[in-house]
């Protein structure tokens, strides 16, 4: 229990308290030095550190990205697929089938823009800040009200490609996504 609490607090401190000074988009680009080639694909692991959970909830899956769409496919523990095509976002799971999910668009857009290295588009919705002891990380704070209503901030790390995305919601819950490109 103490171990879980310590991890939770550390992660929270990392994403919220470690928020550094604002940096320009060029500095953010330089820090991440993203080299994106489409189509791209890889695996992901997601850890949910919610205050209410007894232990972190881990799920995993794979992603595919090309010019037309982003497919975010959770394979375990329960299959689920998030697809973003042009302006539309769809969610599929075994129980409910495929349905449009406009509420998931802010997240889908964020992932798409990060994976494609489109920091210019992200700059419309976020301000960037440095991470003093982590040269390959950039903090992002939402400018748009719709994203800020759910998320307090994001921490994105990587060199040439994104390796981790840490999301902190307004209740202090943290979601840590680790990405491993497979090509």
């Amino acid at each position: 229990m103490i171990h879980r609490f310590t991890v939770f607090v550390c992660l929270w401190l990392l994403t919220v308290c470690a928020y550094g000074k604002d940096i320009s988009i060029d500095t953010a680009k330089a820090r991440l030095a993203l080299e994106v080639e489409l189509p791209a694909q890889g695996d992901f692991t997601q850890e949910k550190h919610l205050a209410i959970l007894k232990h972190p909830f881990v799920s995993s899956g794979r992603y595919r990205l090309n010019q037309e769409q982003l497919v975010w496919e959770t394979l375990a523990p329960a299959p689920q697929t998030l697809t973003m095509e042009k302006q539309n976002v769809f969610l599929w799971d075994e129980a409910a089938g495929r349905r449009e999910m406009p509420q998931a668009k802010p997240f889908a857009s964020l992932i798409q823009q990060l994976l494609t290295g489109n920091l210019d588009a992200l700059a419309n919705s976020f301000t960037f800040a440095d991470e003093p002891n982590r040269p390959n990380c950039v903090s992002m704070q939402p400018k748009s009200r719709s994203i800020a209503s759910v998320f307090a901030g994001f921490l994105v790390c990587g060199k040439s490609h994104i390796t981790t995305i840490t999301m902190t919601d307004n209740d202090g819950n943290i979601t840590l996504i680790s990405l491993t490109p497979t090509r």
Partner: protein, 741 residues
């Protein structure tokens, strides 16, 4: 002619007119009175039915809402400029309810055992289903619903409920706080806003906003900027009506000045005629502003038409002035009073219609005519040297009299009646009841309105349902939704019974929940979560819980409580109506057809006015019968029917339709024709009477002639019918009397 010495009556008259003038000036300067040009505001309820009452209640908010849309990929500078302008000018944008997610979760989580969604309901069927459901929801990356509600309801029922409700009711997707809607012209950003500044500046502010939007349309052609909404139509209609009123009033007065100047060539006579018109307009306008806080612009249009009638009384007195007391002056004054009473009685019937705009017309015209009558009685000198005997008009009226002497009235009236019957059979005129034909808005605004409608309401059907209580309404609505879902499972609903399930549904949900608890279905929750699952609530969700935030706005926009129960609406989207309409048992409900309701209201108004026209016709005939006997009364009736029928038929053949305003024109025609008939019947075709009527007719023709060129359909229709009617009145009314000897 020299100015006369004034007695007590004229002084009182002058004080009253000055009082009206001062009040009107004060009102205009302080902008106390609001002006409205929305044709819908002039319409009565189709009936005082539940549907009509509910429609008025539900439409009230939309009457003040504006909509702007641009292409989703538009320049951000444009969007910033629009938002900045709106914020600086008291326009308040309406936001999506996303920010209320936490509040909604706090509201619903304690009631979790009473609510459900299709997915959660399915999950509760077996433990395996629920496990899969629980892990699937928890796996969702960055689900705002799970984040907002899991601490309050670890079963994730509240999260699923809120996700389902958002999916059902949200047409928009969000991108950088912009509301995006997909449609035929591609994705567009929509901005919805209300004006929350001073109410009496709303029209002006929307007019200014429209001007800015038009400039941005030019500056940012790729943005495909559009705007719509009732206040924009209102602003356009008001501006046009005001411009046209100013133009036509000026034109009418100029014509009046020229005709009177040429005819009388005498400053005093000239002055008296124009002062009588001015007094009538000031009295009408002043009294109207005194009585009403909101004035319909169309009622003011009658201010112009009043010029045509108001001048008559003074003209008749002047036409009978002589250096000695004219033998005809006493009888002409009696005739003037009789004509005045008849016209006033006709217009007074508007007072009993219950239609605000018609009551305003009645108040304006009655006050104006009273002022014109008072002027003719008290302010115009009785003795003066006539200056019109050599005028072109006087000679014309004499010549016209001679032409009439050679015509058999019976033959002329028979031919006229036959022509009207033939035209009626051939043309088959009919009244158009759609208020849309009276909308004077630009084609561009109408087109943008249609495009926005396609984006926001395409494939959507609305239904109105009535019930004896709110609870019964919820039961009925839920039953209808189930019926539609049976035929079309993917249909989406905007319905209050989804947010507030009826008691029967809540009890069923509670039973399923209890079963799930008893069978250990929620075991994954206790495995993963430290918090307990919500306990069964002590009370059910009730309509009274929706009378306070966060859902009071939603509830009030769907439910209207009337004296005999509750009327509410729900909408169905993404389901072709044909797929379910036949099997829909609406009981006490109807399809919510806004156009139909407005058309019914217009039909009701047309019926009202037609009845009043008939009553007025009756009053005129009764007055004539009392003074001149049954023969003259019947002859007058035939003449009046010919005039009204002819005017309507000519209008129909030109405009290809008849509307409320063609019919309103009939009231004016009857007022003028009644005056002319009474003058002819009391004086015969005496040259001075003939001259006064001809001159009066020419002024009326000039006043209404200019209205024909109006771009406002209502004003054009009014002008055309009165123009034709006055022409026919000039030709036919002399036929009721004998040749002057």
């Amino acid at each position: 002619m020299s100015p006369m010495k004034l007695g007590r009556g004229p002084w009182i008259y002058l004080i009253l007119i000055i009082g009206c003038t001062v009040f009107a000036a004060y009102d205009v300067i302080t902008q106390r009175t609001q002006y409205n040009a929305d044709i819908r505001a002039a319409l009565p309820a189709a009936s005082h039915s539940r549907q009509a009452n509910a429609d008025r209640y539900f439409s009230a908010q939309a009457m003040h809402q504006g909509i702007i849309s641009v292409r989703a990929d538009s320049n951000k500078t444009l969007l910033s400029a629009i938002h900045q302008y709106l914020a600086e000018h008291h326009f308040v944008s309406q936001q999506q309810p996303d920010r209320q997610l936490q509040t909604l979760a706090q509201f619903y989580a304690p009631y979790s055992p009473l609510i459900t969604s299709p997915h959660f309901s399915q999950a509760l069927q077996t433990s395996a289903n629920y496990s899969r459901y629980f892990y699937t929801r928890l796996s969702e990356t960055a689900s705002p619903f799970v984040s907002a509600s899991m601490a309050l309801d670890p079963t994730l029922n509240t999260a699923a409920f809120l996700a389902y409700m958002t999916q059902q009711t949200t047409l928009f997707s969000l991108d950088n706080d912009n509301l995006i809607v997909n449609g035929e012209r591609g994705p567009r950003i929509f901005i919805f806003f209300d004006y929350q500044g001073q109410e009496n500046t709303e029209i002006q502010q929307f007019d200014h906003l429209a001007t800015h939007l038009k400039q941005w349309q030019i500056s940012y052609p790729n943005a495909d900027l559009m705007y719509s909404g009732a206040p924009f139509h209102n602003a356009e209609n008001t501006q046009l009506a005001k411009q046209e009123m100013a133009l036509f009033s000026t034109l009418s007065l100029v014509i009046l000045v020229v005709v009177m100047g040429i005819t009388f060539r005498n400053l005093y006579t000239f002055m008296y005629i124009h002062l009588s018109v001015l007094a009538a307009i000031l009295a009408g306008f002043g009294v109207l502003l005194m009585v009403f806080a909101t004035v319909h612009v169309l009622a003011l249009v009658f201010g112009i038409t009043l010029i045509g009638i108001a001048v008559d009384y003074t003209l008749h007195v002047i036409a009978h002035q002589d250096s000695e007391k004219s033998p005809y002056l006493k009888t002409i004054k009696t005739a003037i009073s009789l004509g005045f009473v008849t016209t006033v009685l006709g217009y007074c019937s508007f007072l009993f219609t219950g239609v605000s705009m018609l009551i305003q017309v009645a108040v304006f015209v009655v006050a104006g005519l009273t002022a014109a009558w008072g002027f003719a009685m008290w302010m115009v000198p009785e003795t003066a040297t006539p200056t019109f005997k050599n005028s072109v008009l006087f000679r014309f009226s004499l010549r016209y009299n001679r032409v009439l002497c050679q015509v058999s009235p019976r033959t002329l009236l028979t031919i006229s009646t036959l022509l009207i019957i033939l035209a009626l059979t051939y043309l088959q005129p009919h009244f158009v009841q759609s208020p849309a034909v009276l909308n004077a808005s630009s084609a561009q605004l109408k087109q943008q309105e249609a495009i926005h409608y396609q984006y926001l309401f395409a494939n959507q059907q609305r239904y109105l349902v009535h019930a004896s209580s709110a609870q019964q309404y919820l039961e009925k609505e839920a039953k209808l939704i189930t019926q539609i879902q049976t035929h079309y499972p993917s249909a989406r609903f905007d319905a209050i019974s989804l947010w507030l399930p009826p008691v029967s549904q809540q009890l069923k949900n509670r039973q399923h929940w209890q079963q799930a608890v008893n069978t250990g279905t929620f075991s994954p929750v206790s495995e993963w979560v430290s918090a307990p699952i919500p306990a069964l609530p002590e009370t059910l969700l009730r309509p009274s819980d929706f009378t306070r935030p966060p859902l009071s706005t939603l509830y009030d926009s769907h439910i209207y409580e009337q004296s005999d129960g509750v009327t509410g609406w729900f909408s169905v989207t993404l389901a072709p109506e044909a797929a379910f309409s036949a099997s829909l048992d609406l009981e006490e409900g109807v399809k919510y057809d806004k156009v139909l309701i407005l058309s019914q209201a217009m039909a009701s108004l047309i019926h009202h006015v037609a009845m009043i026209a008939l009553i007025t016709l009756g009053i005129i005939c009764v007055v004539i019968f009392a003074r001149h006997g049954i023969g003259r009364a019947l002859l007058s009736l035939i003449v009046l029917v010919n005039i009204v029928g002819g005017a309507l038929l000519v209008s129909f053949s030109i405009d290809a339709m008849l509307t409320l305003f063609h019919l309103l024109a009939v009231m004016l025609i009857l007022a003028l024709a009644a005056d002319y008939l009474i003058f002819y019947l009391s004086q015969g075709r005496e040259p001075n009477t003939q001259f006064a009527i001809t001159l009066s007719g020419i002024t009326s023709l000039s006043v209404f002639g200019v209205l024909v060129f109006s771009q406002t359909p209502a004003i054009h229709q009014l002008g055309l019918t009165v123009l034709t009617g006055v022409l026919l009145t000039l030709i036919l009314t002399p036929l009721v009397t004998k040749e002057f000897t």
